[in-house]
Each structure stands twice: as C-alpha cells, then as structure tokens.
C-alpha cells in the first residue's frame, strides 16, 4: 500500500442512498483474476446513461466521491474498492458506510470519510451547486475541510489504520512478526476442533 497523507481536490456528487457493492461493480466484473483494470467496471450499469453524474463534464478530474447514506453495503467484494481507486478517486465521503466495504478501504489506502448526515448533505449540495468546490482530507489530522463552506470536521479513523495509511504499511508483514504468539495460541487449540486435511 502507498502512503496516504492528504487528499485534496474536487468531488463528484452521487446523490442517492443505499448504493450497494453490486452497483459499484456488477458481478460480471468479478470473474477477473487480476487486481487491476476495474476502472471501467465502476458503476458500469449506470454509466451507460449520458446524464449519470460521472459522465458530466463539470465533474471530470474530481478525485473525491461524495455519496449518500449506506454506501457500500452488501457483498464483500473488494473489487468495489479497487474500481473506485482505479477510476481515480482517493477518498469517499458518506454519512454511513457498509462495514465490510469500509474495512476493505483501510486495506487499500482509500480514505472512507464518515461524517454527520447534516455535514454530508451540506457538502453534497455545495458540490452540486459548484463543481469547483475544493475539499481537503488530512489523514494526519483525521480532518475534512471545505474552506468555502467553513467546514472543518474530524472523522473517525482508528489510530492503527491511520498509522498504516501514513506509513504505507502492509498488515500481513506486521502480523507475521507476531509468529510466536500465533504459535503458542495454536498449541492450545482443543483436539476436538476439525481440520480439512
């Protein structure tokens, strides 16, 4: 994972609730065995509509996605996170995220910014009104700033995830350093537990 410090830029307003991961990346795209090439699959069923917000010229080049509540519910597919990132988004803002999606974000360095409903709605309206609205997400401060709206709020990010984001650390490497603890836990595993061998 690449380190992430600051995400600064403009946003695309995806003004609907309950956008599940089946919408973010439809199942046909899950057949691929690669980790790249998912950008074209992002919202692919909606992108055929020329009026879909991501097709609107004024939002070209935006690197933040502002979504409605319950974003990323449903299937555990990490492809949803890959698609959003590979399309060019570095952060997603929503009042509430599907938990597996939110956790998958933390493994890939996609910043999931969960803010109050009222703040999210204010940002959504501002971005719809003025696509040039500038947003700044600072991982070190755990903050989201929208200078033109005088918004400067803190969002929740656990210290351990923050540490990994700032340093671009790989979870697996860190856990493997705990090999002794895992060995000793394993040695206490009851004999009646099954194996697949």
């Amino acid at each position: 994972m690449e380190p992430v410090h600051i995400v600064q830029g403009t946003a695309v307003p995806l003004d609907r609730s309950d956008v599940d991961t089946d919408q973010i990346i439809p199942s046909d795209w899950l057949k691929r065995v690669e980790r790249t090439g998912f950008d074209k699959g992002l919202f692919s069923e909606w992108r055929d509509d020329p009026n879909f917000v991501m097709n609107q010229e004024q939002y070209a080049g935006a690197n933040i996605l502002v979504a409605g509540p319950n974003f990323g519910t449903g299937s555990s597919r990490e492809h949803a996170v890959w698609a959003i990132q590979q399309y060019g988004f570095a952060a997603v803002i929503s009042p509430i995220f599907g938990p597996i999606f939110r956790n998958n974000c933390t493994k890939n360095g996609l910043v999931a910014v969960q803010v109050d409903h009222a703040v999210a709605e204010q940002i959504m309206a501002a971005v719809q009104h003025d696509p040039a609205t500038e947003l700044v997400i600072d991982v070190a401060r755990k903050s989201l700033e929208v200078p033109s709206l005088d918004i400067d709020v803190v969002f929740e990010l656990s210290d351990s995830v923050q540490h990994r984001f700032l340093n671009g650390l790989d979870d697996i490497g860190l856990t493997l350093q705990q090999g002794n603890a895992i060995d000793s836990f394993e040695s206490t595993r009851p004999a009646f537990k099954p194996t697949t061998a």
């Binding site: 609907r16 609730s17 899950l30 691929r32 069923e45 597996i100 351990s160 895992i182 099954p194 194996t195």
Partner: protein, 468 residues
C-alpha cells in the same frame, strides 16, 4: 478474563484472541477458512509476490460455486472468463496444498452449504470466508463473518485476522410462528424491523422461543441474512438441535473428543445478567409470509399487503429510495402483492437450498403444475443435497410439476453463471439480495421463502401454499 457476565459472541471472541493491545484491533485466530474462486485469486497472487505460504492449509477448504453452470457440467465452462477463474482456483489450491471440491464432485456446492454439511462448522469456532454470507455458519454458535480479498490473503498467510471489537445486539423472536410461516419469513420480518443499517457495528444474537424451535436449516437461513441489516455476524446458541445435526457428520468429533466437545459447547450461551448494547424484540405471532417489494432487503412487507407508496415514509432519504425502487421494480403503489405476476421462480442460494428447503418447495409442487410460461429453476445447494433430494424422489416431483431441476451452485442468486434474468423480468427468489441487477441486468427480484416461491410458480402471481 474477568467474571463479568458475557454474551455468547463475546465468549467465542475472547476464546480466539491471540494478542490484545490497547488502541489496536484484536488479533483473532481463525479456526476455519472457506475459499471460493471469486474473491481468492488476487490473494493467492499476493502470497506469491511476497514469497509467502499458506500457514494452515489443513484449516482451509475450497470449492467452486459462484461461476459454475447448472447444466451440462460434464462439459468445460463455456464462458472463458469464468472458466479461467475456476481454473485459477484449481491451480492455486493445488500449489498451496488446499483441498478443493471441484464442479461435479459430490461434496462440491455453495461454500456456506458445504461447511455445515461436512461437519466442519461447529459451535464456538471462528469461521471466515471472502463472502458476506459467511454469517450463515453462526447458526451453530460459531463466530462467522465475511472478509475482503486483502483479509483473505492475511488469513492464508497468518491464520489470523485483525478485528476491532464489536457491539453486541440481541434479536429476540418471542411467541410462536403462525402456521405456514418459515425461517425466511422470520428473517425478512427482522429486516423490516432493523432496516439495512440497524446492525452496523454489532454482532447479533438471535434468541427466543421462535429461534429455538427452528431446525438447523432454518437457523442457517436466519443467520445467513444478518449482513443484510449490516451486522458483522449473527449467531445462535448451540443446543441439542445443533448437536443432533452434527453427530455422525464426516468431520464431527467422535468418542471422547465428542464428549469433550459437547461439554464445551454447552457453555456457549449468553450468561444470565449479560447486557446487550442493542436490543430488538419481535412478536413471532405477527410473522406471516413476507416478500420484498424494493431494491434492498429492508424494503419488505407482508405478502398479504399492498405495494407501499413513497409518501408512506416520513424520512426523506427513505422516500426518495422508495420512489426509485418502485420505478426500477415497475410497481405501482397500492397494488396487492398477490396480484403481481411473476416470470421466473428461483429456488436456491445459500439462504434456501438445503434439503429442508427443497422438501418444503416439493410439498407445494407435488401433484400440481407450474403456471403457463413460468420459468423455474430449482438449484440444490450442494452435490450432497442433490443426491439426498433424488434419493427422496424430490427431483421427480419437481420435474413432473414442470420445474427445472439443476446442478448445484450459486446460480441465479447473483448471475455470474448463465442463469440470469433479462431486462424487466420479474422473479420470486429464495435468495438474499434484491439489489438492482443482482440477478441480471434490469432484472426485478422479490425475495421470498421456498414455500412461497413454489406456490408462486404454480399460481403465476405471488401466492402462499394456502392460496392455491
């Protein structure tokens, strides 16, 4: 651990903590890792890139389910991309020494059907899979949840997972179910009460007389849909029903191990005095057959009701979501659900493809004929379910009634194989998700129980067996 009363999920969690550090997520040991072709290829690639091995292939099991066709399975998979994904799983499991049940093997099936069936799913275990419906295994009093591909790689490499602690939630279903209602109706009623977000950040324990009276199959149906209201996992305290189901299964303990296991399993229940962070109570007597009308599983009503209007919702977000859903679903507010005509009936998926589900559907189908023009698919959850159903003659009942009897797999639950809805086609489906396009682009999915699905196939419009 202190002597503070604990809930069932806290006990199972505490039993698996490898390391706990202030301000860090717990490192939890994983007892069983289930793998399938869709969410694993990038994880195996990651291992190879970093020169890592699979720590415990003997606690890992794989099967092919999402992409497999349900017809002509003796031929190679026609869709090249699907075929490549299945081949990749075969190569990866061979390379890393993991047992895989391939298409056509009698033990092959939907990943959440085969774990319990093989006796690999047992009380008090931690079970993970790169699939959100892993919560199914909670029916045995296991802590089971879905993970993403990065976490699949983490478990393969370390047999552990980093997990922040969760809140606890109790969902009590009191009283007794009315005749004709099933476990699927129970969980749909729970969704009506909790909506799609009520469980976020929590592990749910289902309790109360209605839950206790359910068979293991029924309990799996309920736990399966825990993720649909956002819960991390859902589980049920193990009891004699659980032990009877497990006894004699291939991987269940035997002899002295069995006695030790049962003695431990009997301690796996919420202590008197333990307090849940959230509580929901539902009256079982109110749970008549349910059906979804919208595009998320929380948009659900009683089958006897009429399609709601956006104006029925006070919350603006819910109102907009309802209007969008009605438009997508091609439904008009005020229409009786029982007047809505259905094109396709799908009986299958990890929610409702076990032997009891097929028996319930066959009991309705027996001696009747499916409605004119109705497309029907009955897809058993595994090779063993199929075999059992055929031994009981259920396949014949279905075929005589005009249902299509298929090979096991996920099938039309998510349309990664050739079984899919076409634009505008309406289904009554025993699966767990009615998202836009879930069963094929433009398809309109209504979630129901196996009994309602079978009755609907015969009536042509949404119906319960009593309506026939």
């Amino acid at each position: 651990m202190s002597n503070k009363p604990r809930t069932l999920s806290q006990k199972v969690w505490d039993d698996h903590v490898v390391t706990r550090q202030e301000g860090q997520p717990d490192l939890l040991y994983v007892d069983l890792h289930l793998v399938h072709e869709v969410t694993s290829p990038q994880a195996f690639d990651g291992l190879r890139q970093n020169g890592r091995s699979v720590r415990r292939p003997d606690l890992t099991i794989a099967t092919e389910d999402h992409n497999v066709p349900t017809e002509d399975i003796d031929k190679p998979i026609a869709d090249e991309v699907s075929a490549k994904q299945v081949d990749t799983l075969r190569n990866n499991t061979a390379e890393f020494g993991i047992t895989n049940y391939p298409m056509g093997h009698v033990n092959q099936g939907i990943v959440h059907v085969i774990g319990p069936e093989q006796g690999l799913t047992q009380p008090g275990m931690t079970i993970v899979c790169g699939d959100s419906h892993t919560s199914t295994h909670g029916a045995f009093g296991a802590l089971a949840f879905g993970i993403g591909t990065s976490e699949v790689e983490h478990v393969l490499a370390t047999q552990t997972l980093l997990q922040p602690t969760q809140e606890t939630m109790s969902i009590t279903v009191d009283g007794e179910l009315p005749k004709g209602s099933t476990a699927k109706d129970v969980v749909l009623a729970i969704l009506a009460a909790c909506d799609t977000g009520g469980g976020i950040g929590a592990i749910a324990e289902f309790r109360g007389p209605v839950i206790e009276a359910l068979s293991m199959e029924g309990r799996m149906t309920v736990c399966n849909m825990s993720i649909e209201f956002g819960a991390k996992a859902g589980l049920i305290a193990p009891d004699d029903t659980t032990f009877e189901y497990l006894a004699g299964r291939p991987n269940a303990p035997t002899g002295a191990d069995w006695d030790a296991a049962v003695a431990h399993w009997r301690t796996l229940k919420t202590d008197e005095g333990a307090v849940f962070d959230r509580q929901v109570v539902i009256n079982g007597a109110d749970i008549t057959p349910h059906v979804t009308w919208g595009t998320n599983p929380g948009q659900v009503i009683k089958l006897a009701d009429t399609v709601p209007s956006p104006d029925d919702f006070t919350d603006e977000t819910a109102r907009e979501a309802a209007a969008r859903a009605l438009d997508y679903m091609g439904l008009t507010a005020g229409t009786a659900m029982k007047d809505v005509a259905v094109d396709t009936v799908f009986i299958g998926s990890c929610t409702n493809s076990r032997i009891e589900d097929l028996r319930a559907a066959a009991a309705v189908a027996e001696g009747r004929t499916v409605a004119n023009g109705m497309r029907t698919l009955v897809v058993p959850g595994s090779g063993l379910v199929k075999k059992q159903a055929e031994a009981e003659g259920l396949d014949k009942i279905f075929i005589e009634a005009g249902f299509d009897w298929r090979e096991p797999g996920c099938s039309m639950c998510l349309a990664m194989n050739p079984d899919r809805l076409t634009e505008g086609e309406r289904s009554a489906s025993t699966s767990n998700r009615n998202f836009e396009g879930r069963q094929g682009r433009g398809g309109r999915t209504h979630l129901v129980s196996p009994a309602v699905a079978a009755a609907t196939a015969i009536a042509g419009t949404f119906a319960t067996p009593e309506d026939l």
